[in-house]
Amino acid sequence: MLSISKLEYNYLGSTNLVYKDIQLGQNEQLLILGGSGTGKTTFLHLIGGMMQLQQGEITLQGTEYSKLSGYEMDQFRAEHIGLIFQKPHLISSLNVLDNLMLSQMFSPGDQDKDKARALLQSVGLEGKEKAKVSELSEGQAQRVALVRSVINDPILILADEPTSSLDDENAHAVLDLLLQQAERNQSILLITTHDQRVKDRISNHYIL
């Protein structure tokens, strides 16, 4: 259960961003729409606990963000929140499997290579475990990033323009997988986008 109440954010010398109250339960999805400068990314970063709250409260699974220290927030994020970005941003010094193991390392549970392999297989990347990141196509890399975001079975998946740099085929594939993984974990899924291909697939919209 994600609940957002009275959330505001003020960049110095800039407009005040005010967000509406939102409540989302397990396996629910929300699409956040809006032009550039409307605070989409800020919203996502606040929910991801990557920015300090100024006003209002975010509660995930009974945990109030404002009560967590910076270190506790990091731990909480590692365990319960999966993030995916416009670009895959994999760690290029590590191979595909190690990128996934890195994500597992930050989370409290044991590192499970078989799980990583199974997930790679489920997104059509079997045999790519030892591949260098630079050897992957953009679509493949984004699928690895997707696996990375869900490998710790997060309660909440935050996706920031996950499809906007992909062609139609890959965009749909990634979106399919994203919905599929969210469903598997019964995760709450938040996606910011201005991509028509995504709007058609998810009906719950929040326009900033």
């Binding site: 990314t41 270190y71 970005f85 760690i91």
Partner: protein
């Protein structure tokens, strides 16, 4: 996946950079360690040779020369001292033991040292084969002498006057090897030991021979072949053996040496090795000898310390350079980390997004630098010991007094390693702090 593995992956991702840093670090450390190992082993070897010797008393001259000549057997004697004076001094109650040395002859570059058995006792050497020398024309050779000359017990050799080969051979004075000493790792390995009396004999014969030649020449100049018989007759009178047999019952012994009382005034030795009876010896003896006698005293401890101060300046300079190299290595690690972190800001932010804490990123950078400095340290350690081994194998002759061991590890080496580890960590502090401060949101928003 763990912290060390993650840092390691970043290191191997930049092989050239890593190679340069490890090389710089390694060389800096290797230079310091080589100097450390060499000077320590030199010091040990020199100390070992001077063990149990408090003072060397010789003819007036440079104290350093006295030590170099009479203990390390590398320099030339400052002259001779009168046996009578040496005996007088040895009776001093501040002296526990005094050992006479008679130098001046050699065989194939190995010095012949006329002394008493007390000298062998001082260095705690015993014959590996044969026995210690007797009074007349018997010699015991050190392990290296045996090794290079191939002489065995029972072999005879002709001594040469002077301390380098090519001196005038005492053709008529052969010595017999009666023993070979076991290897001791001291200067004795390179010496031929005999009795002082044997050295005297060789020199008396030698002097006689020379005097005789002069006489002969002068004679020849004056009246060529006529007086030949007369000349041979005279030669017979000069034979020292003749005198010997004549008065053997009148011999006296002092300092472990046997001689005729009436010869005392003529006898000389090169030096006297002295052991104090107690601490008062150090206070009073040197001054007493230098002021009240014709002799000069030299303290091995003091002179070697002085020698090391001289060498030390050079060592300090090279050491300084080595520390400079390590500093540059540290700087190089700092610059390469700093540069790589600029390119890695996004990686760091992504790790933060995955839940890495700030302190994890701090440690990640520190560990990276620690691995590089550790590799540099290990490389330097191996390089230093290999270098010492190579120096010993290729540049130090087998018979050298100072042999180097590549397998000697000193405690201070590990202190140097720890220190360089510190430099590595220090070099990483600023990049690590900047990693610590990575702003996830701003970095990710830049996309």
């Amino acid at each position: 996946m763990n912290l060390a593995k993650l840092s390691w992956k970043y290191i191997v991702d930049r092989p050239l950079n890593t190679f340069l840093n490890v090389l710089l670090f390694g060389f800096g450390i290797a230079i310091i360690l080589v100097l450390l190992l060499v000077s320590r082993q030199m010091e040990d070897a020199l100390t070992k040779n001077a063990k149990g010797i408090n003072l060397v008393v010789a003819a007036k001259g440079s104290p350093l020369q006295i030590i170099l000549c009479n203990i390390y057997h590398v320099d030339f004697p400052t002259g001779n001292i009168a046996l009578e004076e040496a005996i007088e001094l040895s009776k001093n109650s501040l002296i526990k033991r005094s050992i006479p040395l008679a130098l001046g002859d050699s065989y194939r570059d190995y010095r012949i040292v006329g002394t008493t058995h007390a000298y062998a006792d001082l260095y705690q050497v015993t014959p590996a084969s044969g026995q210690l020398w007797g009074k007349h024309a018997e010699a015991v050779i050190g392990a290296n002498v045996a090794l290079t000359t191939g002489m065995k017990v029972g072999d005879e050799f002709a001594t040469e006057h002077g301390m380098q080969s090519g001196g005038i051979a005492h053709d008529d004075h052969g010595m017999t090897v009666v023993g070979i000493l076991e290897r001791s790792g001291t200067v004795v390995d390179n010496l031929i030991l005999t009795s002082v009396e044997s050295v005297w004999e060789a020199h008396e014969e030698h002097d006689d021979h020379e005097a005789h030649e002069d006489h002969n020449e002068a004679h020849d100049d004056h009246d060529h072949d006529k007086q030949h018989d007369d000349h041979e007759h005279k030669e017979h009178h000069h034979d020292p053996h003749h005198d010997h047999e004549h008065s053997e019952d009148e011999m006296v012994t002092a300092l472990g040496l046997t001689y005729h009382p009436h010869e005392l005034k003529d006898k000389e030795i090169t030096s006297l090795i002295v052991q104090y009876a107690g601490p008062m010896g150090a206070v009073r003896l040197p001054r007493m000898i230098n002021e009240e006698t014709n002799m000069q005293s030299a303290s091995p401890a003091f002179e070697t310390a002085r020698l090391f101060t001289l060498i030390g300046t050079g060592v300090e300079v090279i050491n300084g350079f080595a520390y400079l190299i390590i500093f540059i290595a540290g700087l190089s690690i700092f610059i390469s980390l700093y540069n790589s972190l600029k390119q890695r800001t996004y990686d760091l932010a992504i790790m933060r997004a995955m839940g890495a804490s700030s302190r994890f990123l701090f440690l990640h950078v520190i560990v990276e630098s620690m691995i590089i400095s550790f590799l540099g340290g290990v490389f330097g350690l191996i390089l230093a010991h290999v270098a010492v081994g190579v120096i010993d194998d290729f540049f130090i002759p087998v018979e050298s007094q100072v042999r180097l061991s590549a397998l000697l590890f000193l405690k201070s080496e590990f202190i140097i390693l720890a220190l360089s580890f510190g430099v590595g960590i220090f070099a990483a502090v600023i990049p690590a702090i900047s990693a610590y401060k990575t702003d996830i949101s701003k970095t990710l928003a830049r996309g």
